[in-house]
């Protein structure tokens, strides 16, 4: 276990340059690519000259880039992520408000993705080249070919407009007390069962939409991983040891999980991208809706803030994935 600790420390250390790199790239996009950043931040062509000038002064946009970058870092750390020229609100506070909804959606989608994708993959590996296997393959292809925003609308059509069994928009009822900002969790913590069912019914469509694009991918990877493990010598040796089916599966699944985790880390990026596009369709009050609103009103600081926060969520997810990976696989702890 000592190696695990060292591994975690080392992994944390590589986390810092990645975050720094992401900050540099966001800085380049917001400060260096635009011909006149101050004007862009102030809302574009129709911005008043005095506002543009004020921004130029406040963010020292006349200074050399390396100084600007230091000031930018300093502002970010202080929680000054800029101010929306449209709403005049602080971007940081807005993001803090919208963040829990996106986190909740991403978590529920991930859970759906795994609890549907992995079993489907196991079944198609064991029933290789049967009808089930072919269906999973086709589901995977449909999933990766589906425009997620359009799928969202079609699901609303079926489950809300036609069958009217699920709500089409919104997040449901806010629980009395907000512990985590995650409605489902908070309503359980409050013991508010009605709020819980309402929130659950609201999250089903958006979460299913987001997970659908990845279910097939996860299933196919699981299938391939299991087939690979099945052909490994240690499985034959384990059978020769007289292990029961159940114990055999324990060995096979643990080994097969390794590539699945890796792909899940990547798939989470697709899931976040999907959230940005799809939240608007479901009027889900998260970072995605916030970003799209900002795009339509040319609210540049809000867009950059959202980009940064989503990148951070993605990096942190991959950090967690790597840690999980190291816990499972002793070989990569070195």
């Amino acid at each position: 276990m000592a190696e695990l600790k060292y591994y975690l420390v080392r992994r944390m250390i590589t986390f810092i340059p990645t975050v720094l790199g992401v900050l540099v790239l966001v800085f380049i996009i917001s400060h260096m690519i635009p011909a006149d950043p101050a004007r862009l931040w102030a809302g574009g062509e129709k911005a008043k000259p005095e506002v543009v000038e004020a921004i130029r002064k406040k963010y020292h946009l006349d200074e050399p880039y390396h100084i600007q970058f230091m000031l930018y870092l300093n502002d970010l750390l202080k929680g000054d992520w800029g101010k929306s020229p449209v709403t005049k609100r602080s971007v940081f506070e807005d993001i803090a408000n919208y963040f829990p909804a996106t986190l909740e959606l991403a978590l529920v989608s991930s859970i759906l993705l795994l609890i549907m994708g992995i079993p489907l993959g196991i079944v198609s590996a064991l029933k290789r080249d049967t009808i089930i296997d072919h269906i999973v393959r086709i589901v995977a292809l449909i999933g990766v070919s589906m425009p997620v925003f359009w799928l969202a609308i079609m699901l609303q059509w079926v489950f809300y407009y036609t069958l009217n069994i699920l709500p089409a928009t919104g997040r449901g009822v806010a629980p009395q007390v907000s512990y985590t900002g995650l409605y489902l969790l908070d309503s359980i913590l409050c013991g508010d069962f009605n709020a819980f069912t309402a929130n659950l019914s609201h999250i089903i469509l958006p979460a299913f939409t987001l997970s659908f694009i990845g279910i097939g991918v996860i299933a196919r990877i699981t299938r391939g991983a299991i087939l690979d493990v099945l052909s490994a010598d240690f499985v034959e040796f384990s059978i020769a040891k007289g292990l029961t089916k159940l114990q055999l599966y324990k060995h096979i699944l643990k080994n097969a999980l390794i590539p699945v985790i890796t792909v899940f880390g990547l798939q989470f990026g697709a899931l976040l991208s999907g959230a940005v596009i799809t939240e608007t369709v479901f009027s889900w009050p998260g970072i995605g809706s916030y970003t799209v609103k900002a795009i339509n009103s040319l609210d540049f600081p809000a867009i950059m803030g959202s980009t940064l926060i989503i990148a951070l969520i993605y990096i942190i997810t991959n950090l967690i994935v790597d840690i999980f990976y190291a816990v499972i696989d002793p070989r990569i702890r070195f």
């Binding site: 040796f237 020769a240 040891k241 007289g242 292990l243 114990q247 080994n255 696989d329 002793p330 070989r331």
Partner: protein, 326 residues
Amino acid sequence: MADNTLLNVEELKVYFYTYAGVVKAVDGVSFDVRRGEVFSIVGETGSGKSVTSRALTRLIPSPGRIVGGRILFEGKNLLEMPEEELRKIRGKDIAYIFQDPSSSLDPLFTSGYQIAETMTVHATADWKNAWKRVIEILKDVAMPDPHKRAKSYPHELSGGMKQRVVIGISVSNKPKLIIADEPTTALDVSVQAQILKLLLDLRKKYDTTVMLITHNLGVVAEVSDRVLVMYAGRVAEIADVYSLFGEPLHPYTIGLLKAVPNPLKRIERIEPIPGSVPDMINVPSGCRFHPRCPKAMDICKREQPPLVQIRGGRSVACWLYAEKNS
């Protein structure tokens, strides 16, 4: 004699149904293994020796199939046994050691766990006692620092150490038969002898029987009591080790002994066997060795020689001897 027989194999046939055709990897192999002996099966790559050893507990992966024969282990036919009953024999009464220790162990579990689970699955120990036994077993297999090594993952062990763990797994339930399939081939030359000696020591200590599958005649001469020579999926001859090396009967065995330095006899020079291993899909008619046999006769091309008993408990499948007897 019958009492002394641990394993009796009769007319075992294992075919592989590949897209290129049917590979008759094992085609009518019969032999006995007696309690307490070291029984070796020797043959070239592709002779079917490994397939034979795995077929004993029906460890034949698709597209292979056991298409015929009888395997009596302590009087019970393993080929007709329900899968679950056979599972209880695997790893308990009949244990295996595979060729490559690096791939025999699950990389994600400690060596101790993998030994312990072999005992708990057969209920020869519960989890509490199993760990104590693990340490004893690791001491038995001469593992340095057993307490530390029990907690090591396979990637932290050398090839020799891994094979010690595999041997530990195989002896953990005090099996009646250990089938060692090329147990030293994948190892460093320097540790091969150690592992072989360990295997023999453990056979005495655990009072068990060893079936050794190898292509190495030197190893065979050193450790075996009796030897089965296989060629192209069939038995060439079966003999005790002294008779085999002293007076080989089958022309293939004679050729084989000339092709490598003979540990028991001085030979003038090494001669390769002419020709090459036959294509296992379109096997030669009659005796499979006849295209390469210096003493091939007419009948060899037409008919398969039967495996006939000769003096001193030897058997040989060759027309040279079949005619003499019949």
